[in-house]
Symmetry: C2
Subunit: 359 residues, 2 copies
């Protein structure tokens, strides 16, 4: 087992990465203050892992709330089901909430923990590659609104994260690929050596090789933790983590939440950010080609869906939270391993990208 | 104008107290970062003060969302109206939200600001005595849940508070009295001199004498600010501020939100806390009598409603967030100006109080 420490002063916490972790009581007990534990999970994950987690927590009073599975349920209404469960069971402020599932569960359970009685403890047990490399680091919690993704939420840190590689064996291929999109992002973002490692090991990752997965999760989490530690509330460099996300959110929202997976939309978004960066003369054709190839080996899309017109995309991008005072801020690429957040780009080049990068 | 500073490190903010403040642009402009301002108010306050506030903000892009008036609308559903207004107008993370109204508006608008895009700036413009002395200091924001009051919320500080005495002239007598309940609380809580001042000036306060009101608001805010500065997240002494609140919340929830005003329920709750403290032999009959008298001069109730049985009261109290691990923690009185948070009391005495303190 690898242990990674996210350094955020009094809100610091460890991430445990390894095989067969979710059944180990000591990983939880160090981080649970009271006796009441509410496990928040969904209908897909509950039959697979709920009992194992419950067994590991048998020293506590455990209850579970099992939500419907899917991004389309990441709403205020579903959140209310968690609050109702907590209140019906008379959970008080010393209670701990455990998020057992993917990013949607983590985002919702984390936000519920942030709001219930103005904040209770929570533990992340991410069961998808995407949530293991991404949403379990950084403290971002949220639900969607019909008018925008992740528009309602909080910055709220877990007490610990338990990333069990073993749970990835029950993951669909499409979900695994979606997670790999974020792994690829960390390479492009600021770690050229990691990008090159991926060029040699992407087939192993797609084939779920445990050693390759452990390496990829550890390095993705480390890269993200470093950035988050320097900018917890996203006022500066943390915005770099949004590489591909402004394009990606426009695709997700435009298609209707749940049609495209978050990682798929980010993959297409990263390809678009590369395309725009190349049009601006910042990167070479070869660099774009390498990123596209890596995305393809990971079985990820590299273009926006044909259903979305460039105008629709632009409108959706403007409502995204990365827009300040109406102007769209984008994360663009100087070269692999070096990205910038900027509003300094030619609007015509952006329209070209939106026109050309459609399936 | 008096200016009081609430000292919370980088979250410190000023409270401005005085006459004719809501129309002064400079009180807002120092605390507004971007250009987008959303005023959250209700159908009662909007016709009285919305235009004045808008005029003071004419340098900004202002929008308003006008909510229905009443505690029964302090829900997740109403909160969503604020999010929808913000998103429809494309407000970004640099926007500022202004809470123009009483405690319900302040709690909801503050919580909306805490959650919108994971946190935007907000300014409190409390227009009731209760919100001026209480909910505008301390950073507690929340909405109610059918199963419990203020169960969903956040600790979130405003950029500034503008407490305009002038707005109290349009306040109903019953609302004024409800505010006086909290003023009386600060006397009992830890400031015997302030309690004695009130014994001499309660008639002036009921008669809305501006000088007496300014004095009372300033001293209540100062007492509260001192306690909050020492315990921002309510892990210790801040719990003292809940004097009368555990009984009070049980009355509010038991009668259905909106029937009893918060301050009325707290008044009866304080009388009950005095009664129980006296039964335990901690305070004299004379001290209880003085508190009851002060509450009566302020036209406040001193007993729980006859509709609520002691058993119902007890059940409601147990679900209140002040209960940890199922045991009910209460704020009780050692003597006027000296209160304690305790679980060390005779259950039979509590039942006596619940039986005797009914109308």
């Amino acid at each position: 087992m690898k242990t990674l420490h996210v350094d955020l002063g009094e809100r610091s916490y460890p991430i445990y990465i390894g095989q067969n972790l979710i059944g180990r009581p000591e990983l939880y007990s160090d981080h649970i203050g009271g006796r009441q534990v509410m496990i928040v999970t969904n209908t897909t994950i509950a039959p697979l892992y709920l009992e194992t987690v419950r067994q590991a927590l048998r020293e506590c009073t455990t209850e579970a709330v099992i939500l419907p599975d899917g991004e389309e349920y990441k709403t205020l209404e579903t959140l209310d089901l968690i609050f109702t469960a907590l209140l019906e069971k008379r959970f008080d402020r010393s209670a701990t909430l455990i998020a057992l599932g993917g990013g949607v569960i983590g985002d919702m359970a984390g936000f519920a923990a942030a709001c219930y009685q103005r904040g209770i403890d929570f533990i992340q047990v991410p069961t998808t590659l995407l949530s293991q490399v991404d949403s379990s680091v950084g403290g971002k919690t949220a639900v969607n609104h019909p008018l925008g993704k992740n528009m309602i939420g909080a910055f709220y840190q877990p007490r610990c994260v338990i990333a069990d590689i073993e749970t990835l064996n029950t993951l669909e291929d499409r979900q695994l690929s979606a997670g790999l999109a974020e792994v690829i992002k960390y390479g492009i973002l600021g770690n050229k050596a990691f990008f090159e490692w991926q060029e040699h090991h992407m087939q192993d990752l797609v084939g779920r090789d445990p050693e390759a997965l452990t390496y990829a999760i550890e390095h993705s989490c480390r890269d993200k933790a470093e950035i988050v530690a320097r900018d917890e509330r996203e006022s500066g460099i943390r915005a770099l983590l949004n590489l591909g996300h402004t394009f990606g959110h426009a695709i997700e929202a435009g298609m209707g939440y749940g049609k495209w997976l978050h990682g798929e939309a980010v993959a297409a978004g990263m390809a678009m950010a590369m395309d725009l960066s190349q049009r601006l003369g910042w990167i070479t054709e070869d660099e774009t080609r390498r990123v596209i190839k890596l995305l393809q080996v990971a079985n990820l899309p590299t273009k926006a869906p044909s259903e979305l017109s460039p105008e629709t995309m632009l409108e959706r991008m403007a409502v995204d939270k990365k827009a300040a005072d109406g102007q769209i801020r984008l994360v663009l690429v100087r070269n692999i391993g070096n990205t910038v957040v900027t509003r300094e780009y030619d609007q015509a080049a952006l329209m070209e990208t939106l026109n050309r990068c459609r399936a």
